[in-house]
């Protein structure tokens, strides 16, 4: 690998989402160089190839195609974002195989679920759903991800209980589960020790204060890529309050961990999925800068000047750190301000409306399937709807037909080509 020219990743390091398993540097270079001129045709071609493979696959492991497709997407779109279509892809993959019992304990499938959960606003709901459906209940990775989510929200007790549940189910690999459980215990005990130290010189803190402290204490967790940074920061407030013993919401799920009862959930959960069964409807898809309304005690509302700008509080007189100034630096050129303050109206509050969350869609899908099985379904499509819609994008009939045609034709063409080559070499 040549030096110098390969520094491209450093220039766009902020736009690369860290992955748990890391990135292949060659894929990263390729992705970054391709992105400079928009979504290139090479990417589109590859995507199309995956899409048609999804539809044309007739082996006995359809999950493999999805798995490869999703991994390719992760590597090819380092900045994530909408055009990667990853969220849709994960959702489709996950829904596709909910009925396939043979995949329920397949580590690849469980991994997809975990990735899907991480993309959702309420990962805990997804994990509970998985448990109710019996997906990955014998996989250590489910319990690890679940517990980490609890821990991120500051609920270490539940994080521990999740591991207990994993041990009860004899989740595999046992060593891994044991090791992560030990690591959690070490983190918690360290946190407790540090809290004791701090509490001795501190009065009970404001919720905001707690959230800051929590962030600082995360310990080893810092290494885990916090993709949804705002979310967890906000969530840790409620986590902190919970740990101080103040019940914030009157939810039954909040007061005490409901130990999973197999018999009970089977009658209540999967057989007739009730949308209301999931307390506290998850909020919309993860967006930044979203906060729950809260009381701002003793905070002055910023005054508006006559130009419509908000008057900012004067900055602290002197920053506590010394900003680095390059000696040879040119005075920065000002970027012209494009926003005309007269036109730019104040952002209005978002209208509350029924949000469709991935989890709800999952449940609806599940319900539909149940209905279809019992013959209650009214509609019946007279075309191969499944095939057209099975990937992340929609195919048209012609594309399908073309795929079939090419599949049929290629062996013949290849045969002819071989003959031609043979005759040429003769």
């Amino acid at each position: 690998m040549a030096e110098g020219g390969d520094m491209e990743w450093e220039l766009s390091k902020e736009n690369i989402q860290p992955l748990r398993r890391g990135r292949a540097i060659s894929a990263l270079h390729e992705a970054l160089s391709l992105q400079q001129d928009g979504l290139s045709s090479a990417i589109n071609q590859q995507r199309q190839a995956f899409e048609s493979e999804l539809r044309m696959y007739d082996g006995d492991d359809p999950l493999d195609v999805w798995d490869r497709y999703i991994k390719w997407t992760e590597q090819t779109f380092p900045q994530g974002g909408k055009e990667s279509n990853l969220a849709t892809l994960l959702e489709r993959a996950v829904t596709r195989f909910t009925e396939e019992k043979k995949y329920h304990d397949d580590p690849r499938y469980v991994d997809l679920w975990i990735k899907f959960a991480e993309n959702c606003p309420e990962p805990l709901d997804i994990f509970r759903y998985m448990q109710a459906q019996g997906i990955g209940v014998t996989q250590a990775s489910l319990y690890i991800a679940w517990s980490e989510e609890y821990e991120n929200q500051g609920n270490c007790r539940k994080a521990d209980l999740v591991y207990q549940e994993g041990f009860k189910k004899c989740a595999e690999p046992h060593d891994k589960l044991l090791q992560f459980h030990k690591a959690l215990q070490a983190r918690v005990s360290r946190q407790v020790m540090m809290n004791v130290e701090e509490d001795s010189d501190d009065e009970p803190k404001q919720p905001e204060r707690v959230s800051l402290a929590e962030l600082k204490h995360r310990g080893k967790k810092k290494a885990i890529a916090p993709i949804n940074r705002t979310g967890s920061a906000i969530r840790s407030i409620s986590g902190g309050m919970q740990s101080h013993g103040a019940p914030v919401l009157g939810n039954a799920s909040n007061s005490r961990l409901v130990v999973f009862d197999e018999n009970k959930t089977q009658s209540a959960g999967p057989s007739e999925p009730k949308l209301e069964a999931w307390a506290a409807p998850p909020t919309s898809r993860a967006k930044e800068n979203e906060r729950n309304p809260e009381k701002w005690c003793g905070v002055k509302v910023p005054q508006k000047s006559k130009f419509g700008h908000t008057v900012m509080a004067p900055p602290p007189p002197k920053p506590t750190f010394q900003p680095f100034v390059e000696e040879s630096d040119q005075p920065p050129t000002m970027t012209p301000c494009k926003i005309n303050p007269a036109v730019n109206t104040v952002l209005s509050a978002r209208k509350p409306h029924r949000e469709e969350t991935p989890l709800k869609r999952l449940q609806e899908h599940h319900q539909q399937q149940k209905e279809a099985e019992s013959g209650k379904l009214q509609e019946q499509s007279m075309y191969c709807k499944e095939l057209l819609l099975s990937g992340a994008t929609e195919f048209c009939f012609e594309e399908l037909r073309a795929e079939r045609y090419f599949k049929k034709v290629t062996p013949e063409v290849r045969g002819q080509m071989d003959q031609a080559c043979a005759s040429a070499s003769n």
Binding site: M1, E3, P18, R20, A24, Q75, G219, A223
Partner: protein, 202 residues
């Protein structure tokens, strides 16, 4: 080290490089979460803020290594410094940070200082350390508790000092290698590289 100094001698160069390693190793240990972040404190050096360990044992160990390294740098007998990150439980090598050192041995004979300002060298060092920080964007997450080890490759005829032992290269099989920036004091040149386990995808 005053900025009015224009040239650089072998001794100064060895000191600069050793200092780089001290900060660089600390940065890696912090960035990769080998030691808990609360055991680090922030210092400002090279006009950037860096994390230095406060763990007394680790500090002691690093001081020992760096001072030994400085000697070898001064004698121009060191070829490589490698920081190996291994899984604590399985001893599997997960990451390998390699710093190749090229010494200009002619500097040993002529004591005339070379023309390169400390400012430029520090700028180069800064960009190397920045890049080390930036590698989190593609390195895999270290999920298990890890330990680290430092390996120094020296010229063959060197006597192994006390508290040092000979060891294997600890290469990762099936690794992905990324070259990082390099810097030179015009006497010592340091090329950095990180190797990590290849992802099984794509």
């Amino acid at each position: 080290m005053t900025s009015t100094l224009k040239g650089i001698t072998l001794k100064g160069s060895a000191e600069l490089v050793a200092e780089f390693f001290s900060f660089g190793i600390n940065s890696i240990l912090y960035q990769r979460g080998i030691y808990p972040p609360e055991t680090f404190s922030r210092v400002t050096n090279y006009d950037m803020s860096l994390q230095l360990t406060t763990d007394p044992k680790l500090k002691n160990y690093l001081t020992n290594v760096v001072s030994q390294l400085k000697e070898w740098l001064f004698e121009c007998t060191v070829q490589k410094l490698v920081l190996v990150i291994t899984c604590l439980e399985t001893n599997e090598v997960l990451e390998r940070w390699q710093f190749d050192i090229e010494c200009d041995k002619s500097a040993k004979e002529s004591s005339a200082p070379r023309e390169k300002s400390i400012k430029t060298i520090q700028d180069e060092i800064r960009s190397v350390i920045r890049q080390i920080t930036a590698t989190v964007t593609f390195l895999p997450l270290l999920e298990t508790p890890c330990a680290f080890d430092l390996l120094v490759y020296t010229d063959k005829d060197l006597v192994v000092p006390d508290k040092w032992e000979e060891s294997g290269p600890q290469i990762i099989d099936q690794s992905e290698e990324v070259r990082l920036r390099s810097f030179t004091t015009s006497i010592h040149r340091v090329n950095s590289m990180v190797a990590y386990k290849k992802t099984d995808s794509v």
